[in-house]
């Protein structure tokens, strides 16, 4: 293959992000301010955390349609515990454990009961949501605890908390994926689970673990969002799985053969966050935002798939 120019090697997502930035720079005054750019990163951070878990799940040829609802309910649970007088640390811990446990059940349904992941996670998601509604009567539960609010509003070593958490989680996920057997399991579960099995790995357990980890990450995100809105509301994040899945796919992870990785998911997250933020700054109403984001995500995926065919097609032989 003749050497292609370096420009050609840049993934198309970056071009799309750049294009969006130019457009917004022209049409949405206020987009290119330090405050707003920082805002984008702060908004992107929780999405990155869920999307990392989603990427791992998708790499196993699975999917988790329960993350949005689980996130909301974890927020509710924390808010509820704090309202009934639990100290904040314990509430967060219990909230996280509860969320992780829910998704652990997801994992069991998929790995052991062999349910198709989208059915299992959809079913469990609505069960969890129902639980959240019962707990709160469908109302939003306010959180007044300022230590809890710190999880979103505070800064640590100069970084806003969400960014700090995203960086820590990303580092943790990276080590797990690329420096421990966990990552090998993730890729192999999607690529050739039989190969894992004959190598002596308990594939049911490995699969359950991936879902559980994704649930844990969704839990962290749910708590950040609850801290941001200073409330627990079951439906607060009901559509987040769409963004998480979109970011994963835009990042180049595919549903087949365990192809992809968590690195490029950052780009997918950035694309979605830039897109949404710009629309907000430009004052586009929520209704149109939905349709528009769906469109851009689709286009980005199509371009990416075509691009990959064009650059990798020859190596298939």
């Amino acid at each position: 293959m003749p050497a292609k120019s370096a420009l050609w090697k840049i993934p198309p997502v970056i071009w799309i992000i750049a294009l969006l930035c130019v457009l917004y720079g022209l049409f949405a005054p206020g987009f290119f301010t330090f405050r707003n750019l920082q805002n984008i990163i702060v908004q992107a951070s929780p999405l990155l955390i869920v999307a990392l878990g989603m990427t791992m799940v998708i790499l196993t040829e699975g999917i988790d349609l329960s993350v949005g609802l689980t996130m909301g309910v974890i927020g509710v649970f924390c808010a509820f515990l704090m309202k009934t007088g639990y100290p904040m640390g314990l509430a967060v811990l219990l909230g996280l454990s509860a969320g992780t446990f829910f998704v652990f059940l997801n994992g069991l349904l998929v790995s052991t009961a062999k349910l198709p992941p989208f059915i299992a996670t959809l079913g469990l998601g609505s069960m969890v949501f129902g639980f959240g509604l019962v707990l709160t009567g469908g109302e939003s539960v306010p959180i007044s605890n300022s230590a809890f609010r710190f999880l979103h509003d505070g800064t640590i070593i100069g970084l806003p908390m969400p960014i700090f958490l995203a960086v820590v989680v990303f580092g943790f996920a990276w080590i797990l994926m690329y420096h421990t057997p966990f990552g090998r399991n993730v890729i192999a579960l999607g690529g050739n689970p039989e190969a894992l099995r004959v190598a002596g790995v308990n594939i049911e357990r490995a699969q359950t673990l991936v879902y559980t980890l994704a649930g844990f990450l969704a839990g962290i995100t749910g708590i950040i969002i609850a801290a941001r809105t200073a409330s627990g509301y079951a439906a607060a994040t009901y559509d987040w799985e769409f963004d998480a899945i979109g970011a994963t796919i835009i990042g180049g992870t595919s549903f087949e053969e365990g192809q992809g990785g968590i690195g490029k998911t950052i780009l997918g997250v950035l694309l979605i966050s830039v897109l949404r933020n710009g629309l907000n700054v430009a004052g586009v109403s929520n209704k149109y935002q939905f349709a528009f984001i769906g469109l851009v995500v689709l286009v980005a995926i199509i371009i990416d798939v075509k691009f990959r065919q064009a650059t990798e097609g020859g190596a298939e032989a």
Partner: protein, 506 residues
């Protein structure tokens, strides 16, 4: 050394699958330092026995005795703890893991003892070292997806060799290798043998068994037929033991005068592949295409069939110029390709035999309504004709033995009524009995006016079946013979590029 105590004995092993008794009271013993060959028709139970020893399947009854002690092998890890390991017949690599990750899957060297952090540097070094023993130098950081099937197979072999096995099981390891790699593998087997490793070797190739086998055990329909020293048994007896009858003619060929031209390829070039290839296939002809792996045979077939785009050249089908754009288009022109990598391109593993057989020819049979009885009848015809071992036409293909899966792909293409077939390694992994059937079928096809371009790494097959033979070397056709001018030496030498001027060879 060969008379030593057996390292492993199996006694009265029984294994049932729904509708099939895969192993029925099978017993044998394996001694250190011997190459013990397992033979038998497709579906005889060879792989099932191998998997039982590797801890992937547990037997329903019977006993396994390791160095005189009765043991149970319930998991692959238990098998490993007894030093039993092997290469499976199926593809057991993970496409997007790199070479080293595949070789050390679930055995990664750790950076610190007791902690789960992988020592990548050591893993890559040791992988490269293991591959180098076979003269393979690939970037161990590449996903195995990008490598050719032969290299992938050598990776599978390195995967087990790096465990230092005491009992090494090789289930049709050479099916996707060419002579060069086979040679390396056999040399290595000799080394292992001298170190006292016991080797269980499964293959359909008599020539290989003669070269490396010490004793051979034959299975038929899951039953034990007998164990004999390789030196004391003739090919005919072995075949007789396997299929229960005599085979007189391996290559039943009725040569006829060839008819009009079916396919002409002129000056065809494929990026990084075949260069300036000219060839013709006529009606009523079987044309052999030989060469080493990497010579570009499969790439040529894929380009003609529209899978990969050629960069320049001309192709005419029955005199009409065609530029291959997609397999669908070429199928409409009457071409059929039996691909080399059947698992990936030829089969829907999760569908029954019936659907696989009909997949490429559905539209030919049915205009409006699909008649499932007719499909069943059709499938049963192929099941009988090709001797596909399956309890029913509705069995999912994934549950058939390796060789029987191949026959299903073959049936699929035979059913398309193509006029021109490209067969890429049509009898790889197929047992002797069925091989003759496949050869007879190919002969019948050309008798009826089809033309066949046959890629094969088995020279006797090419010599026995072809009317004309092309030899490919580094992407170019460097030799062309009528069958009566060709012989093993001439073609073998050309395949290796011996006698080719450097200017042509580069």
């Amino acid at each position: 050394m060969l008379d030593g105590e057996p390292i492993i004995q199996v006694k009265g092993i029984v294994k049932d699958f729904p509708g099939v008794r895969a192993l029925d009271n099978v017993s044998l013993d394996i001694r250190p330092g011997e190459v013990h060959v397992l033979m038998g028709e497709n579906g005889a139970g060879k792989s099932t026995l191998a998997k039982i020893l590797m801890g992937v399947i547990t037997p329903d009854a019977g006993e396994i005795i390791y160095k005189g002690k009765s043991i149970q092998i319930r998991t692959p890890l238990e098998a490993q703890s007894y030093g039993i390991g092997g290469v499976h017949q199926e593809f057991m690599l993970v496409p997007w893991l790199n070479v080293a990750q595949n070789i050390f899957i679930n055995r990664e060297p750790k950076r610190w003892k007791g902690l789960p952090f992988i020592d990548h540097r050591r893993m890559h070094e040791e992988s490269a070292k293991a591959l180098a023993k076979f003269g393979i130098s690939v970037d161990t950081r590449q996903p195995v997806k990008y490598l050719g099937t032969a290299v992938q197979q050598m990776i599978e072999i390195c995967k087990v060799l790096t465990t230092g096995p005491k009992v090494l099981i090789l289930d049709e390891p050479t099916a996707v290798l060419t002579e060069r790699e086979v040679e390396k593998l056999f040399q290595y087997i000799k080394v292992l043998q001298s170190q006292g490793v016991a080797i269980i070797y499964i293959s359909h190739r008599l020539a290989e068994i003669r070269r490396i086998g010490d004793r051979v055990t034959v299975l038929r329909d899951g039953k034990y037929v007998g164990t004999v020293p390789v030196r004391e048994v003739t090919d005919d007896t072995l075949v007789q033991m396997m299929v229960g009858r005599n085979i007189t003619q391996m290559y039943p060929r009725h040569r006829r005068a060839s008819g009009p031209e079916l396919l002409r390829v002129k000056g065809l070039c494929v990026k990084d592949g075949p260069q300036e290839v000219d060839l013709v296939v006529h009606e009523g002809e079987i044309v052999g295409l030989v060469g080493l792996v990497g010579a570009g045979r499969t790439e040529l077939a894929r380009a003609i069939f529209g899978i990969d785009r050629p960069v320049k050249g001309e192709i005419t089908v029955k005199g009409k110029p065609v530029w291959p754009k997609s397999p669908q288009q070429m199928i409409r022109y009457g071409l059929g390709l039996l691909p080399e990598d059947r698992k990936r391109y030829g089969l829907a593993l999760n569908m029954p035999v019936t659907k696989n057989v009909i997949m490429a020819s559905l539209r030919r049979h049915f205009r409006f309504m699909i008649d499932s009885q007719k499909i069943e009848k059709l499938s049963n015809n192929y099941i009988n004709e090709l001797r596909i071992a399956t309890p029913s036409a509705y069995r999912l293909v994934r549950y058939l033995s390796g060789g029987n899966q191949q026959k299903v792909v073959l049936a699929k293409w035979l059913d398309t009524e193509s006029k021109l077939f490209i067969f890429d390694e049509p009898t790889r992994g197929i047992d002797v009995g069925a091989k003759v059937e496949v050869h007879a079928l190919m002969d019948k096809l050309v008798q009826e006016g089809a033309g066949i371009l046959m890629i094969s790494s088995e020279l006797p097959e090419v010599l026995g079946m072809s009317d004309r033979i092309y030899v490919m070397f580094r992407g170019r056709i460097i030799g062309h013979f009528r069958y009566d001018e060709a012989d093993q030496e001439k073609i073998g030498a050309l395949m290796l590029g011996i006698g080719v001027k450097e200017a042509d060879a580069s």
